[in-house]
Structure formats: structure tokens, C-alpha cells
């Protein structure tokens, strides 16, 4: 990868840092169709982690020590249940493909943040918010946060909405 792009303007060299490319950890797996319990359990685990399905039996997460460890254990989980699994570390072949995948993941969590914000706003409008609701929405925000690798603008809006609700009900 070329770390620097050199530009010359009127004899002055400007160095622009090329934006870092995302490194992904992929899990390629095949699980027996029956029993279905491990398939469903695996699907739930992947959803909780925020993994993106890139093909049938291939899921991707941005690679860091935490996601790589989770994916390693999931591969073992598949093997333990009679399946086949391999773990890959990869980069997409073009920046456009990378941006498309990032955007897809960002859109998915944005949707989840919007749902939280809608609940917080609704409670504020009806003035029937409770501490339990504030606590539940905070928990939900933490859950979303765990699978939010490319924060959309909706994140700050949802946090602000829940914070406002929490202030109101604890006053």
C-alpha cells in the first residue's frame, strides 16, 4: 500500500496521508442444516457482533483484537458442531467495494439508533418516560455500540435523546 500521495503545487510538495484501508476478518463456514439450534445460535452471535453477511456462509467484521478473538471462537463453535470453518484476514480489492460494505454496516446500525431515538422522543412528547425506560434504552445503546464500527450521525442524536430522557425522569 502506498502510504503517501505526493502532490506538487508551485514547487511545494504537499503530502496527503492516504486514508487507511480497513482490514477485515472473515469467517467462512458451513454448518449442517440439521440440527438447526447451532445454526440459529451462530446467527444470533453474529448479529450481536454486527457481522456483515458477504456471501452465503461468509461473514465479515473489521479486524481488531476483539473481533478476531470472537471470530476465532465462533470458528471453533462451528467445528464443535460438525461444521467446517476457516478464518481469513483480508482487504477488499477496491476502495469502492470497501466503501459499499462500510456504508451497508453503517446503515444497519443507523436504523437501530433511529429506533432508540424514536422511543426516547415519543416518551418525551407524551411526557410518560420512566427510569426503567431510560435504563432500557441506555442498555440498548450499549448493545448497538458494541456492533457499531463506523458510527453514523444517528449515534450522537440517539445518545442525546436518551440523555435528555434520563435527565427528565431523574429530575
Amino acid at each position: 500500500m502506498q502510504p503517501w500521495l505526493q502532490h506538487r503545487y508551485a514547487g511545494v510538495t504537499v503530502r496527503v496521508v492516504e486514508q487507511e484501508r480497513v482490514e477485515w476478518v472473515l469467517l467462512a463456514y458451513r454448518l449442517p442444516r440439521e440440527p438447526s439450534t447451532p445454526r440459529i445460535a451462530l446467527w444470533r452471535k453474529l448479529r450481536r457482533l454486527g457481522a456483515a453477511q458477504v456471501a452465503d456462509g461468509v461473514v465479515a467484521l473489521p479486524a481488531d483484537s476483539r473481533t478476531r478473538e470472537h471470530v476465532d471462537w465462533l470458528a471453533d463453535y462451528v467445528l464443535d458442531h460438525g461444521g467446517e470453518a476457516s478464518v481469513w484476514v483480508a482487504r477488499l480489492g477496491s476502495r469502492a467495494q470497501e466503501e459499499a460494505l462500510v456504508e451497508r454496516m453503517r446503515t444497519a446500525v443507523a436504523e437501530q439508533y433511529r429506533a432508540v431515538l424514536a422511543e426516547a422522543d415519543e416518551a418525551a412528547r407524551a411526557d410518560d418516560g420512566t427510569r426503567q425506560l431510560a435504563r432500557r434504552l441506555r442498555r440498548e445503546l450499549r448493545r448497538i455500540d458494541q456492533r457499531d464500527f463506523f458510527p453514523p450521525p444517528e449515534r450522537d442524536a440517539a445518545r442525546a435523546g436518551v440523555a435528555a430522557l434520563a435527565r427528565r425522569v431523574s429530575a
Binding site: K45, R48, S65, R66, E69, D72, W73, A75, D76, Y77, D80, R142, R143, Q146
Partner: protein, 141 residues
Amino acid sequence: MRWATRAHVHVDRAACAWLIRRFVDAEAEFCFVDDPSEVPDDATPFDMRGVDLGHHGDDCTFETILRRRGLDDPVLWDLARIVHEADIEDERYDAPEAPGLDAVCRGLSLVVDDDTALAVTGPLFDGLYELRRRALLGRRP
């Protein structure tokens, strides 16, 4: 006895090292490897892919060691609840302590090496054990 685990220890491995030293092998020496093939012949590997003392079913390695070694101290199982949630985050247990423990261990791993991380987290888990022991006895800490 020698024990081996993956380098860059995080909460599950730090908790397991503490558990091993306190309840399994007081003389335990730990070494850290990057790859399972680097585990020395005389060392027992833990919290690595494909070894007995790893994740099994829904258990994290801390829980696996408790089961394999027949450790039935309820305080250790209460700590297992916290370690499980800090490590796997699957909401199987109610563990409000978990996100804080996760943050402390994650931060620590950014600034110290593995030996130091275990030296620092040792007293931390001693304290957590004592706190939960008193809580289970129904006493105010």
C-alpha cells in the same frame, strides 16, 4: 508447572491466570505465545483455539477451568458470571460489573506488557473475589 496462553492478555486470560495461580497451581509460571504451535511441550495451554481449556459451548475459558477442575466455590462461579459477560458480552448473565472490568483490562493491555498485566490484575481479582464473597454472605462490603 508452566502454562501457556496467547499474547496480549485480556479479561478472560487475566482472570484465568489469577484462577490458576490461586486455586489450581500456586507455583504456576505463565508464558505468552503468538501461535498455538509455539506452546512449549511442558506447558498446559489455555484460552487458545483447539485446546481443552478454551471456550466450550457457551462457556468462556474461566468457566471451562472451573468445570474441568471441579471448582464449585460459589464465589468463583459468581466471578465467572462477570468474566463471561466482560469476555463474551452475550447477556446470558446480569453482570453490571462487566463493562467496567472490560474497560480496565482493555486499557491496561494498551500500556503494559503481559507479565505486568497479570501482576496488576492479580490483586484486582483478589479484591473482586472478596467483594463478591461478602456480597454472597449478605454483608455490606
